[in-house]
């Protein structure tokens, strides 16, 4: 049996290894090593826990069985999941962290002796506060992530669900959570503990339903952050350094990602959270506009333009993920490169449904990561490029964000696609994007609309090259 001090030191080591795991992600070269540090840190934490309890009776076997069962399921999912389903997977994983936190909190509440927290009905006050915060945040993470998962998976409409009195209701529930925690701590009543869990599940659900599909990058990052805070709350209860460090790391990581995503849309965090973006007056505005002429072309025209170009910039968006066009796209680019045409990719921070979504898909299609650029790195290049190939992106290319202060997306950083000599825009129809506004780019002199499925169009262009 390990002494408490020795196991404390090992938990610290695993916390440090987790820091190194995140540090490794600063570049793709060091990232694989980083992941290894993460695995090592986790292994140390688990082994030390077993050794410090020092109980290898029948219960140990049961623990191993449950561990292996979960491990097998996890490994199976990790190998089977297609890369396009990454956002759903991450949302699903968040929900599991949340639920695990809830279960640990319940176990600690029912059997506080096992954790040295006092006895049932007489739990140490500090521990009870930490425990109830961990449980509440865990429950919110769980139900919120379930909704995010259903929306991403398409099992639930991606449209914001809003109703009258939504915000006052949410505010009321949040206040009642705080009141319940206070009462729970003063009375130690187990009924209040269950009430707390129930209303926390409810608020998690209510907080996410008004948020629309394209705001999912913010939601996923936010839930990532919550799962960290829940882990930290439990870490305080268990007096475990590894858990506290990890919770803080994950919490701040998710918070930073939410900030980056909000900035990418030029919206405040609260604006996103309150939800219901671009559903009311904007759609009416779009209808009032008279029809403007657009130029449309076919794969042959597109191939001709590209063949005569010396540099092409590709702007992928969520539509590319939906059409699973990344492989077809890379084949097209290979053909272009054979003709000595310079190709680069431009990624907007909020392209896709989660941070870095496009980068993963392109990496899956064997696109080298040094051909893929972020908005700030590449925005000046558009003026020098001959052709911009927009595939599945829309709002993030809309020049209105720079010109029209009335527009809801005004001020949002956009890719300066219109500065290219010519723009090829692959899209199924002229319908507006998520923000519900018309894209001015469609009607520009130098824009050629390619109305088709992204994958099919890309394949046809390759044939014509």
């Amino acid at each position: 049996m390990l002494s408490a001090n020795l196991s404390g030191i090992f938990y610290l080591i695993s916390g440090v290894l987790f820091i190194l795991a995140l540090r490794g992600l600063s570049s793709p070269e060091t990232s694989r090593q980083g992941n290894f540090f993460g695995v090592l840190g986790m292994t140390i934490a688990i082994v030390v826990t077993f050794l410090s309890i020092g109980n290898f009776s029948n219960g140990f076997l049961v623990v191993l069985i449950f561990l292996l069962m979960g491990g097998l399921i996890g490994a199976f999912i990790a190998y089977k999941i297609p890369m396009t389903a990454m956002p759903e997977l991450v949302a699903g994983f968040h929900s599991l962290v949340g639920l695990a936190a809830v279960f640990v909190a319940i176990a600690a509440f029912l059997n506080p002796e096992a954790f040295n927290l006092g006895s049932p009905g007489n739990i140490k006050l500090v521990s009870l506060i930490e425990m109830s915060i961990g449980a509440a945040v865990g429950a919110i993470t769980f139900s919120g992530s379930i909704i995010a998962f259903l929306k991403l998976q398409g099992l639930m409409s991606g449209n914001p669900i809003t109703f009258k009195g939504q915000h006052p209701l949410n505010a009321l529930i949040i206040i009642s959570i705080i009141v319940t925690i206070y009462l729970l701590c003063s009375t130690q009543s187990s009924n209040l503990f269950w009430v707390l869990l129930a209303i926390s599940f409810l608020i998690g659900f209510l907080l996410i339903i008004p948020i629309g599909g394209a705001d999912m990058p913010v939601v996923i990052s936010m839930l990532n952050s919550y799962s960290g805070w829940a882990a930290a709350g439990i870490g305080f209860t268990l007096e475990n350094t590894a858990l506290i460090i990890t919770g803080a790391l994950v919490g701040s990581s998710g918070a930073i990602l939410s900030y980056i995503m909000c900035k990418g849309m030029n919206r405040s965090f609260f604006n996103v959270i309150l939800g219901g973006f671009g559903t009311t007056e904007q759609s009416a505005l779009a209808k009032n506009k008279e029809k403007r002429p657009v130029k449309s072309g076919n794969a042959d025209d597109a191939a001709f333009l590209m063949k005569n170009a010396s540099s092409v910039v590709i702007v992928p968006g969520y539509g590319m993920a939906v059409a699973q066009a990344q492989h077809a796209l890379r084949e097209m680019v290979d053909t272009l490169k054979k003709n000595d045409i310079k190709v680069s990719y431009a990624i907007h921070p909020v392209a896709g449904r989660m941070p870095g979504h496009m980068n993963v898909l392109l990496a899956e299609a064997n696109v080298p990561y040094d051909e893929v650029f972020e908005l700030e790195e590449i925005n000046n290049e558009f003026a020098n490029a001959d052709v911009a190939f927009v595939i599945g992106a829309n709002d993030v290319t809309n020049p209105v964000a720079k010109t029209d202060p009335q527009s809801p997306i005004y001020g949002m950083p956009v890719l300066d696609v219109e500065k290219c000599k010519s723009v090829l825009f692959v899209k199924r129809s002229l319908s507006p994007g998520y923000a519900g506004i018309d894209n001015d780019l469609f009607y520009k002199e130098n824009t050629l609309m390619l109305f088709a499925d992204a994958k099919k169009m890309t394949e046809d262009i390759t044939k014509n090259l």
Binding site: I53, V90, F103, L249, E374
Partner: protein, 101 residues
């Protein structure tokens, strides 16, 4: 007067938030998806608490109403640990540099 140990834990917590802040800002945007999946995996270190809960109830019986929650939490966290690290590894293996000609 002695300092309550909770102050030490709070110090660790606050300092870790700062470490997290600086480390995560240095993560390259193209790796933000692996960042999410790996943070997912490491936050499942909550399994430590689940193991303690699972092993606590076996003086008379292995399964009591507290340990059963521990066992369930072990499985959930294990899904995340294995799934999170493996899927991260799978993603990171795809990030390749341009082939030198």
């Amino acid at each position: 007067m002695e300092i309550d140990p909770i102050i030490f834990r709070l110090s660790i917590f606050i300092l870790s938030i700062f470490i997290g802040y600086y480390v995560v800002w240095s993560v390259t945007p193209s790796l933000h998806t692996p960042l999410m999946s790996v943070t997912n995996a490491i936050s499942s270190v909550i399994i430590v608490g689940a193991i303690i809960a699972g092993l606590a109830g076996n003086s008379d019986t292995i399964f009591n109403n507290s340990s059963i929650f521990g066992f369930l939490a072990i499985s959930l966290a294990a899904i995340n640990i294995f799934g999170g690290f493996l899927v991260t590894q799978r993603m990171l293996a795809m990030y390749k540099k341009k082939k030198r000609k």
